[in-house]
């Protein structure tokens, strides 16, 4: 019993930091609808700034508790200011872009912050020295319990109370609540949205910064903090209900306690437990514990999507020329050039498959790497356990991916918006955890080696042609499907589910089929990739891989059928070049993404299409 009590209290202490981060994220989302990937970066900055500020204060006035508290608050305010600055300089310029496009910009910010932090604070973990009073403990039921953790337990509720006062008693708070419920209405009432959004970003970022600062006595400031926390923060926000601060509070308690007791009951399930909880909650309560359906649940890609037209003749010529140029590559490119080309071809299909969901389907998946990875593992498991040749492996790839697409899709298409996106993320994390931890089957993080092509395809040129045939072939089929009646039905379900059902269309079924097609296509891409690389690893399923796919689609432009192709080539090309030649490639990539976002708020292909139509009129 004593043990259970101490474990419970430990869970409560962990919940506080989690709540601070999640409450900031949920407030930002509620008002601005920005899915802020950079929130983890603000958390990390909070820890680093607190490390610097607290130590400076201690050097000046001795290691006093009040200076410690002052340092934490100053760090939080500084992070708040940084958040407001990011909003003013970056996000403010792209609110009119399709929803989720801001995600791209915040991801660029993540990369930039990573390198800035490395440059300013250096590579090593930075521990805050703990004076005696930070090491103190009390006896709880005969067990030692850190005094600092006891104080943390109260920080969560106190912040919740302060936020409640803020939202009930101040004009700013009332506006925040109103905007969370109905943003258009608040705008119509003549409220200065710019100031409101900046204020919200200040508040949310300061909360994240405080979250990073208060964990400093128990953990180092380190460069992995940002990505370690962000997925968990999103889980809490979604489980609580997006935009709901009390929901975030409840969810942070739930998640922290699940972890505290989970490691006792199932010590090996640490990776997957929170995502299982999230998946379960979303299946029972599609809007989280305390969330409400969004007042105007817009299609996630914007209310008025442009018409998808048949490709103009010029585009067909460009496409055919590019294909011919790629097929002729063995004549002019070296082996490395062919390797890169094969990767580009694979990612074109990967992005195109996600685009089918995101564009015509209106289904935003944050976990598309799951199907890419399942394809790769389908091929690799075939090689490992059945010793099948490549030809069979490339059939197993889409089969396995498609099969999981059916199972996961069945749950996913019943949700909408960000909740849907987060359920796809949860499923992807479950698949990733299986690949990572089910060592007997998958080889764990050491992966499966020796997935090499059949002898006839070992020649780079032949493999390139194989990849072109499979990946570009599948991409062309996906394009045809978008222009075919199925694609129109899918878009109909996206544009207006009410109308679609009223003309006899089964929206959920259309989305499910799209989901399975997208999964199987990503599976083909994954299978080809596995044979191109010769090995398969859980990194193929990891969150960054899913983010890559999102970036490619968004960068190219969700609303153009050529968008994913342009986006895949642009993004992967950019990444390859910078990784190879620039030491600070993350900052460079981040800046490039931000620049592209600001220059082309409808994506690169979308931009080209608009300029083309402005000059030559719409092709019909």
């Amino acid at each position: 019993m004593d043990f259970l009590l101490v474990q419970f209290l430990t869970g409560l202490a962990n919940a506080s930091a989690l709540f601070l981060i999640a409450s900031g994220l949920t407030v930002i989302f509620g008002v601005t609808r920005v899915v802020n990937f950079a929130h983890g970066s603000f958390y990390m900055l909070g820890a680093y700034l607190a490390w610097t500020i607290v130590r400076a204060l201690w050097d000046w006035g001795g290691r006093e508790p009040w200076l410690f508290v002052l340092g934490l608050l100053l760090a939080a305010l500084a992070v708040g200011a940084i958040g407001a600055l990011v909003e003013i300089l970056l996000l403010r310029r792209i609110y009119r872009a399709p929803e989720l496009f801001q995600l791209l910009a915040t991801f660029g910010a993540v990369l930039i912050v990573q390198d800035i932090t490395l440059a300013l604070w250096g590579p090593e973990d930075l521990p805050l020295p703990r004076p005696r009073w930070l090491r103190a403990f009390i006896e709880v039921a005969g067990e030692r319990f850190p005094l600092y953790d006891l104080i943390l337990i109260f920080v969560g509720p106190v912040v919740l109370g302060l936020l409640w006062l803020l939202f009930q008693r101040t004009r700013f708070g009332i506006l925040v609540r109103a905007a969370t419920q109905d943003r258009e209405m608040v705008a119509a009432l003549g409220v200065d949205q710019r100031a409101l959004f900046t204020g919200v970003f200040f508040l949310g970022s300061a909360l994240a910064g405080l979250g990073g600062a208060i964990v400093l006595p128990s953990q180092n400031a380190n460069l992995q903090m940002d990505l370690a926390i962000i997925a968990e923060a999103f889980v809490v926000v979604v489980v609580g209900g997006m935009g709901s601060v009390p929901g975030a509070f409840l969810a942070s308690l739930l998640i922290a306690e699940v972890q505290a007791f989970g490691i006792v009951l199932v010590p090996k399930a640490t990776l997957v437990l929170v995502f299982l909880v999230m998946a379960a909650v979303l299946m029972v309560r599609p809007y989280g514990l305390l969330g409400r359906p969004q007042a105007h649940a817009r299609a996630p890609t914007g209310s008025v999507a442009p018409v998808i037209r048949a490709a103009p003749f010029v585009l067909k010529v460009v496409g055919a020329s590019a294909l011919a140029l790629a097929a002729a590559a063995p004549l002019y490119a070296g082996p490395y050039g062919l390797t890169v080309l094969i990767e580009l071809v694979v990612f074109v299909l990967f992005a195109a498959s996600l685009h089918l969901l995101m564009g015509p389907g209106g289904v935003v998946s944050f976990g598309h790497a799951a199907y890419f990875g399942l394809g790769a593992y389908g091929a690799a498991l075939g090689v490992r356990f059945l010793a099948v040749p490549m030809e069979v492996g490339l059939v197993l790839a889409p089969l396995l991916a498609g099969l999981f697409g059916v199972v996961f899709g069945w749950f996913v298409v019943r949700l909408s918006g960000v909740y849907l996106a987060m359920l796809t993320l949860a499923f992807a994390q479950i698949v990733w955890a299986a690949a990572f931890q089910w060592v007997e089957l998958t080889g764990g993080d050491n992966g499966i080696l020796g997935v090499w092509p059949s002898p006839w395809a070992r020649d780079k040129a032949l493999f390139l042609w194989l990849a072109l045939a499979l990946c570009i072939g599948a991409t062309v089929l996906l394009r045809r499907a978008i222009y075919a009646p199925f694609g129109y039905g899918l878009r109909a379900a996206r544009d207006s589910e009410l109308r679609a059902e009223a003309v006899g269309l089964n929206a959920a079924q259309l989305r499910l089929v799209a989901f399975v097609i997208a999964a199987a296509s990503a599976g083909i891409a994954g299978g080809v990739y596995a044979y191109a690389k010769g090995s398969v690893f859980p990194t193929y399923i990891s969150i960054p891989k899913s983010v890559d796919a999102l970036l490619m689609v968004l960068l190219g432009g969700v609303q153009t059928v050529s968008g994913p192709i342009v986006g895949a080539v642009a993004f992967h090309g950019l990444f390859l070049t910078l990784l190879q030649w620039v030491e600070w490639w993350r900052a460079a990539l981040g800046l490039a993404i931000v620049a592209l976002v600001l220059a082309f708020p409808e994506g690169v292909a979308g931009f080209v299409q608009r300029r083309w139509e402005a000059r030559f009129g719409a092709a019909s």
């Binding site: 403990f137 850190p146 180092n220 992966g447 690389k533 010769g534 600070w584």
Partner: protein, 403 residues
């Protein structure tokens, strides 16, 4: 040109400046392609890079190899095996490097190793610890420098077996490295001490330990001793919670790698005393080889060496010795030269075993202590890697013998 660009950034970062000079002499340099997780794990890979860079400069200052200067073309793998494999291809095909070296993560090491087998080119794995690299997945073209998970676990078992402790708990990050480290420790210790029992285990996710809960859960099992495999940020969290909650009092802790400055330094004044660890007491090893290395390193970088620095340094040393021994750069001759190759590390004489391509580089085994607010190692000894490898017939059974 491309390399110039890379160097431009390097110079700006203040980390590399000199090797550009060798190009001016007009001799075609010998080129080593090096891949590592520079942005993902800068705390470990930057001292490592310093190490190999120092060695390259020394060799070139002494006239190079086979009358040619040595040049390292390096790449950041972004922590992803798929990128490492592509970059290995790029280094071989575009940069025309003569061999591949590097990598830190086990899975990246394995990916590059399999690629090297496919392409039949030499790969000298510097840091990856996984046993599979030289055993289950070993191949003709891959050699590994650093003492493996098995070797380091075996070093600790030797000490652990002497302890009176019978009830053990383990805590390890939940991936292949942590799992192997626990598996070998349990297996080897149980063989020596049939009376021990393992009463609980914790598997925190790498980089996301829930330290308070983990500490309480371990204490709940009332162990006599704890075997720890966590490192980095997880280790700091674990130590701080363990200190405050009294987990380590009246208990022995046996801890893998914790004596390496990379992991010991961040513990600062909270370094627990008396943990039995593998590591690297850089300030106390005063053999002539090590003193020379340490002095040169300090002169060059105005910093003290980490374990990674030694690994980077030795990687180049071993490659240089192999090239000298082979007298050529042709892969098959290099491979033959690497098999059974002796070389001198700052730690002493080592050899790349012909049987499994594992080097006999060892580690220091000792106890942690707190001196002047910093962690350090005491009562240490050098454990020669050659003494902590399984019998040859067992190695033959584990390693594919076709190559």
């Amino acid at each position: 040109m491309a390399k110039t660009t890379r160097r431009l950034f390097l110079t700006a970062a203040g980390t590399l400046a000199a090797p550009g000079l060798v190009r001016a002499q007009g001799t075609q340099p010998i080129r080593i392609g090096e891949i590592n997780s520079y942005t993902t794990l800068p705390a470990f890979t930057i001292p490592y890079r310093n190490g190999w860079q120092l060695r390259v400069e020394q060799i070139n200052a002494a006239g190079g190899l086979l009358g040619r200067p040595l040049e390292v073309i390096w790449r950041d793998d972004a922590g992803r095996p798929q990128d490492a494999v592509r970059l290995a291809g790029e280094l071989l095909d575009s940069e025309r490097v003569d061999l591949i070296a590097g990598t830190f993560f086990s899975h990246i090491g394995l990916a590059v190793s399999d690629f090297a087998l496919q392409r039949r080119r030499l790969f000298v794995a510097a840091e990856p610890l996984t046993d599979a690299l030289v055993w289950e997945k070993g191949n003709r073209y891959t050699f590994r420098l650093r003492p493996s998970t098995y070797m380091q676990a075996a070093m600790l078992v030797e000490e652990a077996a002497k302890l009176p402790a019978r009830r053990w708990v383990t805590v390890a990050p939940n991936y292949e490295y942590g799992q192997s480290a626990v598996k070998w420790f349990k297996q080897l210790l149980s063989a020596r001490r049939p009376d021990v029992e393992f009463v609980a285990e914790q598997w925190p996710a790498l980089g996301r330990i829930d330290a308070g809960a983990t500490v309480t859960a371990l204490a709940q099992a009332r162990p006599d001793a704890i075997y720890n495999v966590t490192f980095g940020a997880d280790l700091t969290n674990f130590v701080r919670q363990g200190n405050t909650r009294g987990l380590f009092e009246r208990r022995t802790v046996v801890s893998l790698l914790t004596g390496e400055p990379e992991y010991l330094d961040p513990l600062g004044d909270e370094t627990p005393e008396g943990w039995i660890v593998t590591g690297y007491p850089w300030d106390q090893v005063n053999t002539p080889e090590h003193t020379a290395f340490r002095d040169a390193y300090r002169r060059r970088f105005n910093d003290y060496p980490r374990l990674g620095s030694v690994v980077g340094y030795d990687t180049i040393t071993a490659i240089a010795e192999a090239i000298k021994r082979a007298g050529a750069l042709e892969t098959e001759r290099l491979v033959e030269a690497m098999r059974g190759l002796p070389f001198t590390s700052p730690f002493g004489r080592c050899v790349f075993r012909a049987i499994d391509h594992q080097s006999t580089l060892g580690a220091f085994v000792g106890k942690t202590a707190l001196r002047g607010g910093r962690g350090t190692m005491v009562e240490w000894r050098y454990a020669d890697g050659a003494n902590y490898l399984p019998p040859d017939d067992e190695v033959r059974r584990m390693r594919p013998q076709t190559t």
